[in-house]
Symmetry: C3
Subunit: 268 residues, 3 copies
């Protein structure tokens, strides 16, 4: 396992690259969080594009810098666009993130998530119950809520990372990331992130932006989680509740800098 200092340096470098190059992030995501996701990407310095219709999703994914496929509210049109976008991403060598929202018992999204899993996502992001369900080791959570602890999802995360040859990120009070071999834990963030909708979903999009900014995929994913959760800490200090937190969080994604990362990042 790598020590935390290189991760902090690569996080700071990746953040600079995102702001310098403004990667074009193609999102197919759910109707609940689409606005917040676009605003989070803009705040951190990326360029969002929500292209989720058949006929456009494929060619756009080929030229985008990164792609997010989020299964939160998968209409028939979006489901077809997801398959098309994944093929476009593969053709263009575009890194892509799969977020298997609320899979487990729900009968439409669950088989679709399995199908996308087998197409080798660059990163899979979910809560513990979603990761366990996607690995085939368990049955999922309650709607979007995890019923399992992050650490309990480690075997499932390792297994998924090995079979997909990608990164798996389990979100929770301490985030756990693995490429199958190394395991990285990030102990930043704030519970208010779970009291606004899209707190996890927008992180998947930010991961897609950072994958475009750093060749090492584990380091890129660590950078995204670290920037995101350090911003959440900064925001929580200025918040009176979830409303003001959501606003302060976008401000913090916009202003978070190398000094904040160096002072606060808790990576092990």
């Amino acid at each position: 396992m790598r020590t935390s200092k290189p991760f902090i340096e690569s996080t700071i470098h990746a953040l600079e690259q995102v702001r310098l190059n403004s990667p074009l992030v193609h999102c197919i995501t759910n109707s609940v969080v689409v606005n917040f996701t676009a605003n989070a990407l803009l705040a951190v310095g990326a360029a969002p594009a929500m292209v989720d219709i058949v006929g456009e999703a494929g060619p756009f994914a080929t030229v985008a810098s990164g792609l997010l496929i989020n299964l939160g509210t998968p209409t028939p049109e979006q489901r077809a666009a997801m398959i098309e976008a994944q093929a476009g991403a593969a053709a263009g060598n575009t890194p892509w993130v799969l977020d298997p929202v609320a899979i487990g018992s729900l009968p439409v999204r669950t088989p679709l998530a399995y199908r996308l899993r087998d197409l080798h996502p660059t990163v899979i992001r979910g809560n513990a119950s979603e990761i366990i369900a996607l690995s085939g080791m368990g049955e999922g959570g309650r709607g979007v809520d995890a019923l399992d602890s992050v650490e309990a999802a480690l075997p499932a995360a390792r297994s998924l990372a090995e079979t997909t040859s990608g990164i798996v990120a389990v979100s929770g009070p301490v985030d756990l990331l693995t490429d199958g071999a190394s395991v990285v834990r990030i102990a930043n963030g704030d519970a208010l992130l779970t009291r606004i909708t899209g707190g996890g979903c927008a992180l998947g999009a930010v991961m897609a932006a950072f994958l475009a900014a750093h060749d090492d995929r584990l380091a890129a994913t660590v950078a995204a989680v670290t920037v995101y959760t350090v911003a959440a800490e900064l925001a929580a200090e200025k918040s009176a509740g979830p409303g003001s937190f959501g606003v302060a969080f976008l401000d913090a994604l916009y202003s978070v800098d190398a000094d904040d990362i160096a002072a606060r990042a808790s990576i092990s």
Copy 2:
């Protein structure tokens, strides 16, 4: 008619129950307010899940704690999911709220609202014009705006409550709620609630959360309206306009407590 003191006590109790049990609220709602609705539910302590596709809406409604069906932007997929969800709610004995947004002359949603009305919603929530239109006594408003006063909708509300054996809630400067026999008026809230989109729609979702927290359906609905409109008052005192009001309102839904309810609730 019951006096207001028992309603204040049951409101405080229901709020505690929502925060303790975090009821899973299944929403099929319009694209305009879906983010705000999820955030309002999270802020008050409930767990939102926006499951609005065919094949998932039915089984999810069966296991959810409450269901909202809101007709604001009813795509063909959502319309089919609404019918499926209602059947699932009936099978699971899940309380459900119907919000007949902008019905009257609009030719797709209006017959769908009548069809759903006849399936005995636990609660119907709308503005005066929508309630009058749903009762068959009038023609609706101008888009989402009511052209009728709340009091003018009392006969329609009573009639609807009797034929559906449910609760009918008419939103306005003074909210009017009836089970057909009793009539309760709640004189809380703030006009800024009408200057943000979703001010009424999110209330329907909060009602679904409170129906899961209290067996007496009239008391549960009174509790939802009281908590929601007292939070609006608290927010308005800290707001410079509709933008800051929307933020402060989510903070207030998160922090409103028994003392606020006891001090401010105006129920008669």
Copy 3:
């Protein structure tokens, strides 16, 4: 070309009319910005109605005060509703705004934008790359980002205005508006407007509101841009980043008044 003083007077008058009459603005817009667009309309004093399904879009456009057709996330249902709404607007003499979001290479929305362009929109609003692409003189931008300067789009804007007999508005650091003959430049606004999603899209909706408030279409469009960008300046002075800017902007649209316009409007 008219001097700026009449435009400032007509802007102040149009703002008063919007607040007095609360025009009903029918929007068919993208899922990313639909909430922000509705809130911007409510804040400035208009009444939003997002009616974007087949069977309702046509009759509603006929009776609405103004219509926005925005191509941001054009599902098949929305595409059919757009065609229906345009016909309804034509039948009802309803002014309508076309926003050709991200056209150029995207193969579904681009031909649809050409088709709608040929149906004589009252106003076309876009960034420089979108206006150039719609005129047939260039290939568009990068997703929603303009790659061309506003001034470079002047020939395209003039050409489009002449062929459509409408107004063309090019958004950017300095907004450029033309009816084919006159050219008006408005040098208000703030760069933070580009760091929140919907900064441009919501302006199209506000234009539809102002078209209902003033018979001179160029003056109405100038009024919408001026009110909107002066509000952005007021908001930026109170903002710590894009999150707080979005909130302050809605507050500013609500409170901006004749004195603010007179003191700040930079129209030439």
